[in-house]
Symmetry: C2
Subunit: 249 residues, 2 copies
C-alpha cells in the first residue's frame, strides 16, 4: 500500500508521500515515491506514485529518458514540455507505453496493471496545477472546490482534509494538515510507513521551497502526532453531553 | 453501505448504527439496522447488521422466531440463551441457516452472501461482551486491548477511535466518540446516512439506558458536528510550524 496526498491552495502546492512498498505483509521495503523535476526559475514539477512498483518505476524511467512526441518525433521529458496540461498528457503516454510493454504479460500472471500518479507543479507563466493520472493514462485535475487529491489508501486520512482544507487554507497549514492526514493513515495501515517525503512549492516561485524527508523518530513529526492526539482528546471532552443521556447516567 | 460501531468500555456498551441501505447509488432507502432484545433486570442484547439486507433481515427473523437447539431440540432465541457466548453462537447458527436457504441461489445471480453482525450485551451475572459475527457464522470478540468493533465502512471513522478509545474511556465519552466517528463516515460515504440509532447500556444494569434515534437536523448532533470541525481547525493551527519550513516561507 501507499499513501500520497497533493494539496493545491491559493498560495501553492504541497505533496507528501510515504515510502513503504510491500509484496504481502511479510515483504516490505523502502522506495522513494515522490519525485522532483525542477529548473529553478523556469519550472517545478513533482510526482508521487502509487500502485505496482515495477509499473511506477518504468513510468519514471520513461519520463526521465524521454518519450517521442507522436507529431514532431522529438523526445519530450517533464523538463521540456511547455505546460502542466502537456506534462499530464506525457505522464499518461508513459503509463500507456508501460501498459503496452508489460500489461498483457502481467495479466497472464494475475498481477493487475495498477498505477496512479499525482502530478503537480507550474511551468513558466502558466497556472499551477495538480493532476491525478490513472492506469488508463487519463487524468483528473484538482479544482478550487476539491483542492486535494489522494492516491493509494485514501480513507483514513480523508476526514481531516474534508473538514479543514479549502482553496484559501494557508500553505503552511496545508502542509500540517497533510502531515496529520498521513499520521492517521500510518496509524491504521501497516502498508504505509516512514520515512515521509515532502515537496512544497509556492505559487509563482518556480522552484521547490522545501524538499524534505521525515525520518523515523524525527522530533517535530513525533511532537505533531502527540499534540494532535492530545488535541482530539481535549476536543471531544469539550463537547457537551447529549441531552438525552443526562438523565440516564 | 453501512456504518455500525460497538464500543465496550469499563462502564458499559455503546452501539451506534446508521439506517441507509442502497442498491446502487440511485436506489437508497431507510431501514433500521440496530435491534434490541431486552428483559429488564435479566438481560440486554443489542445487534447491528451490515451487508445484504435480505440476509440480515432473514437472520433477524430467525433470531426472533427461534432456532432449534441441535442437542435438546428446543427453540432458542436471544431472549432464552443463557450466556452472551451462546448468543453469539446462536447468531452464527442463524447466519448459517440463511446461507443454506439462500446462499447458493444468490451466488447464481452474482449476489454475494454477505452479512456482518455486531452483537453486544449482558445476560444475568455473566460478563458484558461485544462480538462481531461473520458471514461464515464464526465470531471475534472485543477485548480490553481493542475495545471497539466496526462493520460496514470502517475506515473513515477509525482514526478518531484509534486515538481516543481505551477500556478506561468513560461511557458518555465513548458515545460522543462513536458519534464523531459516525460523522466522519457520513461526510465521506454517501452510502451511510441519517437517521442514526443508538443503544447504550451500563455494565450490570441489565437494561438499555438509552435507545435513541438521531433524526435529520437534530440540534445536538448538528452542534456536535460543528464543534468538532471547529476544534479540529483550532487544533491544527495550534501545532507549531515545522522547523524546516520557517526559513522557506
Amino acid at each position: 500500500m501507499t499513501y500520497c496526498v497533493g494539496i493545491l491552495v491559493r498560495d501553492g502546492l504541497v505533496m507528501i508521500a510515504d515510502t513503504r512498498t510491500n509484496a504481502g505483509v511479510d515483504n516490505i521495503a523502502t522506495f522513494r515515491k515522490l519525485h522532483l523535476f525542477e529548473i529553478p526559475g523556469e519550472r517545478v514539477i513533482t510526482l508521487a506514485t502509487a500502485g505496482n512498483l515495477s509499473v511506477s518505476q518504468s513510468v519514471m524511467s520513461l519520463l526521465s529518458d524521454g518519450i517521442e512526441d507522436p507529431v514532431t518525433g522529438e523526445l519530450e521529458t517533464l523538463l521540456s514540455v511547455s505546460s502542466m496540461f502537456k506534462a499530464a498528457q506525457l505522464v499518461g503516454r508513459a503509463v500507456r507505453q508501460v501498459y503496452e510493454m508489460d500489461g498483457a504479460e502481467m495479466e497472464k500472471h494475475r498481477t493487475g496493471f495498477d498505477v496512479t500518479i499525482l502530478l503537480g507543479g507550474q511551468i513558466g507563466q502558466g497556472p499551477m496545477r495538480l493532476y491525478q493520472v490513472y492506469s488508463a493514462g487519463n487524468a483528473i485535475e484538482a479544482t478550487q472546490d476539491t483542492p486535494f487529491l489522494q492516491i493509494g489508501e485514501p480513507k483514513y486520512g480523508k476526514p481531516i482534509l474534508d473538514r479543514a482544507i479549502s482553496h484559501e487554507t494557508e500553505l503552511i497549514e496545508a502542509l500540517k494538515l497533510g502531515l496529520i492526514s498521513m499520521d492517521s493513515t500510518l496509524k491504521s495501515n501497516l502498508g504505509v510507513g516512514l520515512p515521509i517525503d515532502i515537496v512544497m512549492a509556492k505559487r509563482n516561485a518556480l522552484k521547490a521551497g522545501i524538499t524534505y524527508r521525515i525520518q523515523e523518530d524525527e522530533p517535530y513529526f513525533r511532537d505533531l502526532r502527540e499534540r494532535w492526539s492530545a488535541a482530539l482528546r481535549a476536543a471531544h471532552q469539550a463537547i457537551p453531553h447529549p441531552p438525552y443521556v443526562e438523565e440516564a447516567l
